[in-house]
């Protein structure tokens, strides 16, 4: 990833996010029930969608890592999951704010999507202690990939089970936000979704570039201190997966 590409990507991210939020705030109509409070929907829902796609993409990368044994896929998987967890914190916070604003409670158990998201989030939080409890690098990559695949398969299953528990045990209190959105709301939402997706992608690229740089530095350092030992590394730029 060259610096220029990254610059273009981050510029596009900022522009689209600003357009999206401007559309959401000034152009999209006010929600009939909830009024201005509902505007947080344009941030909360895209964040959640992008985070979930990131989790599943992390599983796909884990699968590719197991298939090929190529550590770059492991680095991708790690960065995807890492950033989705960061986005996940934002999802839970914005969700809590929305719940407080519209239903008067910081946490609403009757909202299955939010509960499912919390469970998924808690599962992925164990990725870090699990990953760093394994010392050997190759084994770490393989085990982390197995985790990513298992957790990726778990995400849709969990959403289904939690939703069923709600609809069977309690009647559905809140109609889902999708369904019959007016066109202008939908358009503003989609622009926000693209913006948040680009934000995620930019952060992924930054993280990966950082990992590559630190990998290169430590490889050069190794080559300088004991020349001759660097032969095993080869020319390929494999991201270093140091903690942190």
């Amino acid at each position: 990833m060259s610096g220029r590409n990254l610059k273009a990507l981050s510029t596009a991210t900022v522009v689209i996010l600003i357009i999206g939020f401007a559309l959401a705030i000034f152009w999209a109509p006010l929600d009939a029930d909830q009024g201005f409070k509902q505007k947080i929907f344009y941030l909360h829902v895209p964040l959640a969608i992008v985070a979930l796609i990131g989790f599943i993409a992390g599983g796909v990368e884990g699968f590719r890592q197991l298939r090929s044994g190529d550590r770059r896929h492991d680095a991708n998987s790690y960065v995807f999951i890492h950033l989705s967890i960061v986005f996940g914190v934002a999802v839970l916070v914005t969700g809590a704010i929305w719940a407080k604003a519209s239903w008067g409670h910081w946490w609403v158990w009757e909202e299955p999507t939010l509960v499912s998201f919390l469970i998924v989030f808690l599962l992925y939080c164990t990725y870090y202690p699990f990953r760093y409890a394994i010392e050997d690098r190759d084994r770490q990559a393989r085990y982390a990939s197995v985790f990513a695949i298992t957790a990726g398969a778990f995400v849709p299953l969990n959403f289904m089970a939690v939703r069923m528990a709600e609809s069977i045990i309690h009647p559905r209190v809140f109609a889902s936000a999708e369904g019959s959105l007016p066109g202008s709301m939908l358009f503003a939402f989609l622009v926000c979704l693209v913006g948040v997706g680009l934000l995620w992608l930019t952060l992924v690229k930054v993280e990966l570039a950082g990992k590559q740089a630190s990998g290169q530095v430590s490889r050069l350092r190794r080559a300088l201190s004991t020349d001759g030992q660097s032969g095993s590394v080869g020319g390929r730029i494999a991201p270093e997966m140091e903690a942190g």
Binding site: P129, F130, A133, T150, A153, L157, A161
Partner: protein
């Protein structure tokens, strides 16, 4: 290459024999479960339980007792070199997964054979819901066995084994617990047991079991490479 069936029988037989001779997992699980009932009796301040409360107490207890067993599934292999021996053997790698999952399934069934009747004696006013409950127990055991074997093999080679098993397992079994409690609560209702949504929840459990059996079966060999 030794046929998988022979290898499976040998591994499962070894595990069951070891358990019978050393009694390392099962007695601890049973004791833990029964003590937990006593804590619930005072924690909830109830002498009888029914409906979702009964389902919740039963499944929480079984889940935590299962975690005790899951923690130990691969410990002997790790400590006494069973993994190395297995890697040398000319057998399909996934046989270890199926054999360990089968052993875990048997442990859990034995555990429930003792603990569920105890639960009924302690708390349930009438026992007619226990017979259909067997189906729910089998469904949950399958899920615990597949996922527990997978998680246990992931955790056993890390530094924080005992910590990681519950940490990884608990969020992963939430859907299974939702389905198990959803199916058991109407069965344990005071009065006549009802079968409300019983089939749906069994179906969810079947789906869950199927997915995690497949995932475990597919990825297990990568956990054995060294």
């Amino acid at each position: 290459m030794t046929p998988s069936r022979t290898a499976f029988a040998a591994l499962l037989g070894k595990d069951l024999r070891t358990e019978i001779r050393t009694m390392r997992s099962l007695p601890a699980m049973v004791l833990f479960a029964i003590t937990t009932f006593i804590i619930f009796r005072y924690g909830l301040d109830r002498t009888t339980l029914s409906g979702s409360l009964a389902g919740g107490v039963l499944w929480t207890t079984l889940l935590f007792a299962a975690i005790l067993g899951i923690n130990r599934v691969f410990v002997s292999e790790q400590e006494e070199g069973g993994f190395d021996a297995f890697r040398l053997a000319p057998v399909d790698r996934t046989v270890l997964f199926t054999a360990k999952a089968a052993a875990l399934f048997i442990y859990l069934s034995v555990l429930e054979l003792i603990v569920v009747p105890t639960f009924a004696v302690f708390f349930l006013p009438q026992w007619s819901g226990l017979l259909p409950l067997i189906l729910v127990l089998v469904g949950a055991n399958l899920g615990f066995a597949a996922l527990g074997t997978l998680i246990s093999s992931m955790a056993v080679n890390s530094r924080a084994r005992d910590l990681l098993v519950p940490l990884l397992l608990l969020p992963l079994v939430v859907p299974l617990m939702i389905a198990a409690t959803g199916a058991s609560a109407p069965l344990l209702e005071a009065g006549a047991p009802s079968y409300e949504e019983f089939g749906t929840w069994l179906l969810v459990m079947g789906l869950y079991d199927g997915i995690f059996c497949l995932v475990g079966y597919a990825v297990f060999e990568f956990l054995l490479e060294d």
